[in-house]
Symmetry: C2
Subunit: 314 residues, 2 copies
């Protein structure tokens, strides 16, 4: 039996997990992400933690097949990071660098893409060969699996489906600098924005008017309670989600669309809302895709990172 | 040296080409596609033509690595055809059937996808690893290459990018039954439709008003001659093309977008029109994609079909 590590590098903590080659997670822990001085301590800290664990547990180096790591920024299939703003990183080959520091083979991917691979392997997409993963959180991220392999993209930015254009007439800019992106309507932030616009432009009572700090959860709760304004807002949101996921599926044609992120906590009601709109917009032959909720939560990144390594070195 | 066949199965003719394993096309010919009786003669005719060629040339069976075939309908990566309306075909495994008839291993793909693989290997996408191919003809088709492999899709309908939704408010239906598809604005037919709408809703002189049977070429010629109406129409067309190709590239992140089909005969002016709009809509990190014109013409399908076989059996 061989073993390896899956590492999920975030802006504040690094999650490190130790796996056997069947994908059983045998241990996990976190270390802080030290972003000072251009993030130069990040990789040495990770290497020290990994090597320390092996020494402490008396695990021989020969039993380690390799390391996988998910990074919060664009990474191509050869491991070249193309700037991670919130880590202070520029352009370099993280696979080579972490490989040199640990002596193990390393495979890297973008964090959303790597989380997609985790959900594909052990979560909501289990058993499929082709999958689209979308995280509806503060922003909207994505990952695409084609015949069991992650689509990294030529510039390490495959599956940036939060930045498809949904509304070419939008006047408010997206965080990415463009206008009318999916993220402006389908993220938790975007849904609240749509709700505020709706409430400002409509009269009539709504439970949403009582919320002190209107949240995405308030809107889904309002919908579940039959509030008219909440239902009208969600109708608009589902329409947007159905349209953009229809376009993604007409392009990629997966068996399954897995939905994660904070918004997915709404549960089955979200899928029930999206599916009929999806079928209105998707090319008929690609309409066979089923919808599922993500199931690994915060561990998706570690699972996917280890799977990256397992696919190449296992 | 091994050899093989690339077969491009169309609604009226079957193009068959004989290749060596370096991709040199050594011979090509056509046979008619007999669609009577549910298209039941098509595969036996192909098998007879291939086996006849080998016998006639005295080529030993052992030197043949296999056959690839492009089919005008959805085909998944295992060779299951999911109906080809214009051939009269239902659901069956074409790779197994043609394999049985010839005794050679067979790999099948959708015709637009296979043409994409041909352009990737020997045409406009040569030297890249990740490519988006779009054919702007009577309709709009596409093909996607990810790390050198064709994206077939779970239901054999990967890269149906002619049926992304560009205009959710469209009232006229697309051939596919949906409304507002790319094909309704960016195909040769769609461009003429937009032009007629423009001319009907604007006064003022235009060379386009003199055309007896307005064609897409007339519009590009008008634009090259500086006709105001033609330029306004093309401006709208380029905007649509930039938006949808931006969305495709934000999803797939290729190195190159290759444009083929009748509309691409307009040449470099088409790329010059699309590129600035593309950069307005694509996610910045995926904006490094370059544009190129297809270069294999009608041979793209045969090249790609042989490459399918070469990748799996070579």
């Amino acid at each position: 039996m061989k073993y390896g590590f899956g590492i999920d590098l975030g802006g504040t903590t690094v999650k490190i997990a130790y796996f056997d080659e069947t994908g059983e997670m045998l241990a996990k822990w976190e270390i802080p992400t030290v972003t000072e001085n251009g993030g130069q301590r990040i990789l040495p800290d990770i290497a020290a933690s990994v090597l320390g664990y092996l020494a402490e547990q008396g695990i021989p180096r020969e039993s380690i097949l390799g390391l996988g790591i998910g990074v919060p920024g664009p990474v191509n299939s050869r491991g070249v990071v193309n700037k991670c703003i919130n880590l202070g990183w520029g352009v370099f080959n993280i696979a080579e660098e972490l490989g040199r520091l640990t002596g193990f083979p390393v495979k890297a991917g973008n964090d959303a893409n790597v989380a997609a691979l985790g959900e594909f392997w052990k979560g909501g997409g289990r058993g499929s060969e082709n999958m689209v993963f979308v995280t509806l959180g503060t922003g909207v991220g994505g990952g695409i699996i084609v015949e069991g392999r992650l689509l990294h993209g030529a510039h390490g930015s495959g599956a940036e489906i939060g930045h498809l254009v949904l509304n070419r007439d939008e006047t408010v800019p997206c965080n990415c600098g463009k206008r009318g992106c999916v993220e402006q309507y389908c993220s938790a932030t975007g849904i609240v924005r749509l709700a505020k616009q709706y409430l400002a432009s409509h009269d009539g009572p709504s439970v949403l008017r009582q919320a002190e700090n209107l949240s995405c959860k308030d809107i889904f709760d309002g919908g579940k309670a039959g509030d008219g304004a909440a239902l009208a807002i969600l109708d608009r949101v589902y329409e947007y989600m159905g349209e953009f996921l229809g376009n993604v599926c007409s392009t990629v044609d997966p068996e399954v669309v897995v939905i994660g992120g904070g918004v997915s906590k709404a549960g089955q009601v979200l899928i029930d809302g999206i599916e009929p709109r999806f079928h209105k917009y998707v090319f008929h032959a690609a309409g066979g895709a089923r919808f599922a909720l993500a199931s690994l939560g915060n561990d998706a990144g570690a699972y996917g990172a280890f799977k990256l390594a397992l696919d190449d070195f296992g």
